[in-house]
Point group: C2
Chain length 299, copies 2
Amino acid sequence: MSLLAVGSVALDSVQTPSGTADDVLGGSATYFSYAASFFTHVRLVGVVGEDFPDGHRTLLQARNIDLAGLEVVPGKTFRWRGCYQGAMNSAETLDVQLNCFGCFEPKVPEKFRDSRYIFLANCSPKLQMQVLSQVEKPELVVCDTMNFYIANERDGLVELLGMVDGIVINDAEAVQFIGIHNLVRAGREILAMGPKFVVIKKGEHGSMLMSKHDVFCLPAFPLETVVDPTGAGDSFAGGMMGYLARAGKMDSMTLKRALVHGTIVASFNVEGFSLSKFQCIQLADIDNRVDQFSEMMRF
Amino acid sequence: MSLLAVGSVALDSVQTPSGTADDVLGGSATYFSYAASFFTHVRLVGVVGEDFPDGHRTLLQARNIDLAGLEVVPGKTFRWRGCYQGAMNSAETLDVQLNCFGCFEPKVPEKFRDSRYIFLANCSPKLQMQVLSQVEKPELVVCDTMNFYIANERDGLVELLGMVDGIVINDAEAVQFIGIHNLVRAGREILAMGPKFVVIKKGEHGSMLMSKHDVFCLPAFPLETVVDPTGAGDSFAGGMMGYLARAGKMDSMTLKRALVHGTIVASFNVEGFSLSKFQCIQLADIDNRVDQFSEMMRF
C-alpha cells in the first residue's frame, strides 16, 4: 500500500561515544522513509537546498523511495549538530540551522494524493494539517510531535489529534503534554483527544501501545553496541507504519506486530551512524531479528 | 522448597504523591518474604528492636513465614524515612536510623541451615558471606546489593559474586559497579565475575535477565496508579525466588517465568503502602495477572 511521509530531510553532524559523523544524511522523513521502505513503497514530501548531495538522493531512490515530493529550493539544507553522552538517552543539540526547512510549506504532488497511509513526522501542527488537506481519504494517518510544539502550538496539536488515527510520542513529551508522570494515564488522556491509538516511545526502554482496548508494552531489542541513536524514533515509526501498510489491516494483533517490527528496525538503525547500518541489511535480516526477539519474549 | 531470606526488617515512613504512611512495616527481608510466601514456605533472618510491634510479627506469621531467625535485641528497630516525587523512579532518603540493624550479625538458626534456596538481601557483602558460611549446600543462592557497598566494599562484593548463583541489581547500580552505561555489556561483565545469572531491575521500565545463553527483557506490568514504590525490587526478587523454589528447577524457561512472576508480584506491591495491597491478594490474583500479562505480551 502507498505510504506517504512528510517531514524533514537534513544534514546531521553527530558526536557519540563511538565516534563522529559530519554532514551525514538525516532528518525525520529520511529515517522514516528508509525504515518503511523495507516493507512497502514510500513517497516522501520534504524540502532541501541546492547543496543537497546527489549521492543522498540516490541512496533513497535505491530503496524505491519516490522523491517527486522532495522540493529543491535556493539556499541550504536543514542542518543539525548534536551529541550524545553516557546512556545516550537524549541528544544535546549543539547547533541548528533551519535554512530552507524554516519556510517549509509541504506540497503533496498530485500523484501522491491517493496515498493510503500517511505519516506526519515531527513538524508544526499547522503544516501537518496542511498536508491532510492535500490528500484524499487515507486509511491511516499517524503523526509525531515534539516538545517545541507541545509548548508553543498546543491548540494546534490538540486540533490535529482530532484528525489523526494515531500518534507516536516520546515518554518525556507525553508527560510534558499531559502533565501526568504515569504513562498509562498520560496515554489515556491523549487517546481521549481523538486518536485510535497512542504509541509512547521510551528509547532504550522500549515502547507502549495504547488503544481503547489494549495496553501493550515492549522492551527494546537488547543491544551490546549502540553507535548513534539519531533517528531511532523515526525508524521505529517507519518500521511500524511500513509493516501496517504492507499488512493492509489494523486489528489488535497486527498493531502489536507492527510495534515489534518498529522495535527491530530501530535496533538496526542505532547500530551505525546515519543510514550506514540500514544500507547493510535486507528484509530477511529484519525478519530474522524479529524471530530472535519473538523467541526471547516467549515465556 | 525451603527459602531463606536474610536482610532488613524496618519501620518506614513514606511520602508519595498518593499520600503518606508512618512507621509502617518495611525492610528488604520483609518485602521479599511476604512476596515469596505466595509461592513457598519462607524462613526469615533479621533483627528488630524491642519496639517492634506484635501486629507486624503476626502479619508475617499469618503468611506462614517462619520468624525463628528474627532476633529481638534491646533498643530500637531500623527506621527509614523517604519520599518519592514525579515519576517516582527513585526515593529521596530523608532520614535513616540504623538502630539495631547497625550491629546486625545474621545468625541462621540450626533448623534453617538446610534451606535449599537463599536470598541475601541488600547488606554488607561481609555479612552476606557470613550467612553462606552458616548454611549447608543450598541449590540456589541469589544476592542483592546497593550503591553504598559498590562504592565502599567493592572487593567484598566481587568475592561474594564468586560464591552466588545469581544477583539482582538496579540498573543504576549495575552502571555504577561496572562503569559501562550499556546494560547488556554491564550484565556480561557481572556474569564474568561468577554468577550464573544477573537480573537487572529497571523500575517502571521492567527488568532484564542475563545468563550465559540468554538475554531476556521484560517490561513492567502497566499500571495506572502507583501508590508507593518502596519494596518493589525486593518484592520482585521475592516473587522470582518464591516461584523458583516452588518450581524446584532452574532451566531457561523456568527462569523467564520466574521473572514474570516477580514482575507481577511487584506490580501488586506498588499499588499500596507497605504490605497493604499484598494483604488483599492471594495466589489466584497473581496467577490472573500473570495470565493478563502473558496475553498482553503475545504477538
